[in-house]
């Protein structure tokens, strides 16, 4: 069977916020642009971003992008690149105004300006006091953003390929990216998209963890494709967690439950937070609570048959209070934990939420890899933006409302860079002669395999291993075992067998392909986390505690550097953090405290 080849100027993989934003730049520049997505664009996981988008508009009180930059560098625990952070914070106003022009229904002040509200970690005057910086559209900011940008793309003639799964990057002999292979689910056909520019906007990969707030769609497809094509993944040890997700399901239980008097208990029914935080107890900060929960579970005081969760108890509260002050919590507990919280405590675990690392890019959205001489080189034809990319602006820890800002700013810059790179009108580079065979062979191998592992089994093994060995609080022995274990699990993930061999709408095949992406992200995370022998931001190790020499366990002397994991041989390299902003003085290193 011949594989058909479709020719575009640019192909974007992913139709969430970053993909749609870059598509606008390309299509409005008159370039023939395709966007591929596993789902209809307005059903992307960007919808789950409710909080808003940070921009120092100064509509409600004085604000300044320099203050936003300071907050972001500090939030990143100084691992964020200061050139990219300056670029993002300066550009924030422009991308919010763009959205306004696209018809985004922002909340308004009485005099018609965009209303802004405060959000954790965003301060005025270099960390002095909270500032109103977040622009929102009620509690559906991400959703409204997708709708506005989708309409703009339709107007600009962007071509959408909906319910398509990208398979692999295609690089030529010089390493330039010349297209992708993809699977149309409705027909089962494999098609090659031959392009002068490929932009990855595939979102996060939170499904590598057993407990994750991420929707099922977040399987790290872009990261898997990049890794298989020889592109390293940057800072993959850094994942943001929330302390109270429903065990097994991952659905978030709001912090408000503890605010209203909810108590965390271990298997002995003990209120264990009294030991870890005698004053704040259950209301201690997210990281303190998450670490205490993990310690209880690790030391055998977890609940349930596998002793792998703790309990959030509100049975002592008046049912009327629960119904009035915590609307929806009873329904969520019944639906997702199978317990009525008025009668029984809710099983909870620290739950993965956001991936700080990803495909290494510069602030122009161009993918950049080590040149072998201590510097970076651009991969021609390849761009990435949003959660799948690492610019890096979030460093070791992301501030709330900076994720929507990231996908807008770098979606736009990746699109602009591609427009710039294509403006000389050069012809498409030639596809490698074996491009069609390579695309076909991966599916053929999957279809032909007998006696392999089921997708369900492999996914369980990946997510269990990651949760148990590389969760929110990390231990040297568990990480070392975790590296060995994930390399065993990798064999399962490369030996998948599917029962359904049909061509049309074969979701088992797609899930197997997703699993082959998940395992790459899982390896990158485990190996990078084991290697980084310090605590920084979201990467917290038991053997790198808070000491006078290393406050918060952070060791700038040895570890102020980005991790790069290469799939080939699971090799790790490091590259320096950019400490020189574009136009302003650097934010000097100091201990991160709030």
């Amino acid at each position: 069977m011949n594989i058909s080849v479709l020719k575009f100027d640019a192909v974007i993989v992913g139709a969430g916020g970053a993909g749609l934003r870059s598509a606008i730049q390309l299509s409005e520049a008159g370039l023939k642009t395709a966007v591929l997505s596993k789902v209809f664009p307005t059903r992307s996981h960007t919808v789950a971003a409710q909080g808003g988008v940070a921009a120092s508009l100064g509509n409600s009180e004085e604000d300044n992008w320099r203050w936003h930059m300071y907050d972001t560098v500090k939030g990143s625990d100084w691992l964020g690149d200061q050139d990219a952070i300056e670029y993002m914070c300066k550009k924030a106003v422009e991308v919010v105004v763009d959205l306004e022009h696209y018809g985004m229904p922002f909340d308004r002040t009485d005099d018609g300006k965009i209303y802004q509200r405060p959000f954790g970690g965003h301060m005025s005057n270099f960390g002095e006091k909270p500032v109103r910086r977040s622009c929102a559209a009620a509690d559906r900011t991400g959703h409204a953003m997708l709708h506005a940008m989708y309409q703009r793309n339709v107007k600009a003639n962007t071509q959408f390929f909906v319910e398509w799964m990208a398979l692999d990057l295609i690089r030529d002999s010089e390493g330039a990216v010349v297209g992708i292979s993809a699977l149309e689910m409705e027909t089962g056909n494999i098609v090659i998209f031959h392009a002068r520019a490929v932009i990855f906007a595939t979102g996060g990969s939170g499904r590598i963890f057993a407990s994750s707030t991420n929707a099922f769609i977040n399987t790290g497809d872009g990261l898997g494709m990049a890794a298989r094509a020889g592109i390293p993944l940057e800072d993959m040890e850094f994942w943001q967690f929330h302390p109270t997700g429903v065990a097994g399901a991952g659905v978030l239980i709001t912090e408000g439950v503890r605010g209203e008097g909810g108590i965390l208990r271990n298997a002995d029914k003990e209120r264990f937070m009294e030991r870890y935080a005698p004053n704040a107890k259950d209301l201690a900060s997210r990281d303190v609570v998450s670490r205490a929960m993990t310690t209880e579970i690790k030391e055998g005081r977890g609940c349930g048959p596998s002793k792998d969760y703790v309990l959030l108890d509100i049975t002592h509260l008046d049912p009327a209070t629960i119904m009035k002050r915590l609307p929806g919590i009873r329904e969520i507990s019944i639906q997702f934990a199978g317990v009525d919280p008025i009668k029984e405590p809710i099983p909870v675990v620290p739950t993965c939420h956001y991936q700080m690392g990803g495909i290494p890019t510069n602030f122009a959205g161009r993918v950049a890899v080590p040149d072998g001489r201590g510097g970076d080189r651009i991969v021609p034809g390849f761009y990435a933006a949003g959660e799948c990319a690492c610019a890096s602006v979030h460093g070791a820890n992301r501030l709330g409302t900076n994720s929507l800002l990231d996908l807008l700013v770098f979606g736009k810059s990746a699109g602009d860079s591609a427009v710039e790179d294509l403006k000389d009108g050069e012809a498409h580079r030639t596809l490698p002669a074996d491009a069609q065979d390579v695309a076909r062979s991966r599916i053929a191998a999957l279809d032909a395999r007998k006696g392999g592992t089921s997708v369900y089994e492999a996914r369980q093994a990946i997510s269990r291993t990651m949760q148990d060995h590389a969760g929110v609080f990390r231990f040297e022995d568990l990480l070392k075992q975790g590296v060995a274990r994930i390399l065993e699990v990798e064999k399962m993930a490369h030996n998948l067998e599917i029962q359904d061999k049909s061509k049309v709408w074969n979701t088992a095949r797609v899930e197997a392909l997703e699993t082959e992406n998940l395992i790459e992200v899982a390896k990158a995370t485990m190996i990078s986390a084991e290697a980084r022998k310090e605590s920084r931001g979201a990467h917290v190790r038991d053997d790198a505690p808070d000491t006078p020499e290393f406050p918060n366990g952070r060791n700038d002397k040895d570890w102020l550097k980005h991790t790069l994991w290469f799939r080939d041989g699971n090799r790790i390299e490091y590259k320096p953090v950019c400490l020189t902003p574009l136009t302003v003085e650097p934010v000097e290193l100091k201990t991160r405290s709030y």
Binding site: K38, V39, T42, R43, S44, H45, T46, V47, A48, R140, H143, E163, M185, E186, R207, A210, S212, T213, N214, A215, F216, I217, V246, A247, G248, A249, G250, V251, P327, G328, E331, I332, I334, Q335, F336, A337, G338, V339, V455, Y456, R459, Q460, S463, S502, V504, W505, N506, T507, V510, E511
Partner: protein, 94 residues
Amino acid sequence: MEPLDAAALSRLRWRCTRRAMLEMDLLLGEFLDKKFPSLSPEDQAAFVELADYEDIKLWPWVSGQEECEDARLAPVVVMLRCQTNGAQRRRDMP
């Protein structure tokens, strides 16, 4: 509604388990496996229609924060709201 053929059922499964919100992946996926096969043709048709709604509309209905006013869809919304088998779901996670 005519019974769905294998391809149509697979497409429905994809649309139920690759959604914007995790909550809806969990609820619709489980409902499709456990309840959908035994629904009346009318309720099956209503579920197929609901699966095409955006999560931002569907979630307030199935979490009990809003009532669905459409008489055809409302019975299925109530069934979705009443799923309580969280422990089973923990074993079935992909």
